[in-house]
């Protein structure tokens, strides 16, 4: 649906960057997130907080793009964490094993605290 098209905003801090998305994390949605992350990596950012509190729907194609981002972050010896996940998205990430490589926080504040 058109209304679901993903939009995002990125905020670069000293030690980390926060990417907040809104909408469906499908193929194009995932690509947008990846692009934003890769641009931040080019600017030297290594630690990422993905705030999905306004993204209630995801699919496995979107998630596989997230795995790509995680791979790149690990290569940089950086870190990536999620916050604002619905119970179902968090459960899915756990089932898939994403939590071996990333952390899940309830809120952005908690994620920031853990990174500071």
């Amino acid at each position: 649906m058109l209304e679901q098209e993903l939009t995002l905003s990125a905020r670069k801090e000293d030690k980390y960057s926060v990417i907040t998305t809104e909408g469906y994390i499908n193929n194009p949605g995932g690509e947008k997130i990846a692009l934003a992350c890769y641009q931040l990596m080019d600017q030297g950012c290594k630690h990422f907080i993905l705030n999905f509190s306004q993204s209630k729907v995801i699919n496995s194609i979107g998630i596989s793009i997230l795995i790509e981002i995680i791979e790149k972050v690990l290569e940089l010896k950086g870190s990536l964490c999620f916050c604002g996940l619905t119970n179902t998205i968090a459960k899915t990430f756990r089932i898939m094993g994403l939590t071996q490589y990333t952390q899940i926080f309830s809120t952005e504040e908690e994620a920031i605290k853990a990174l500071s």
Binding site: M1, N26, V57, I65, T88, K91, T92, I95, G97
Partner: protein, 135 residues
Amino acid sequence: MEDEVTLTIPMHHDMELEVTRIAASVAEAMRLDKDKIDEIKLALIEACLNAIEHSKSEEKKVHIKFKMIGDRLEIIIKDYGVGFDPSKIKEPKIEEKIKSPSKRGWGLKIMRSLMDSVVINSHKGGTKIVMTKRR
């Protein structure tokens, strides 16, 4: 009481979201809780995406049936495509995927993990998936 809602959608990306709306509304009527409804929605998205992406169906349609059987919601997703052999599909492992060039292959695992049961029936004439979830 047994009730059925059937829905046929064209094979376009994002049409899977239409299906989740009907699913949500059927599941709400059955008083499934919010998390279960979300799980059904994601499993259903994956089933529809597979039909859209892999079936090569010539009619280019996905057929979905919602059966409300007491406290159990049964969802049947059907395409008249090329089919596949589920026993040949390897279980995805994150340790491998993270290093592999192809990160895909999670759809079936997600469906099976989020639903109470998933039965796949696939042959050259197409694929039928029956998923259930109880209240």
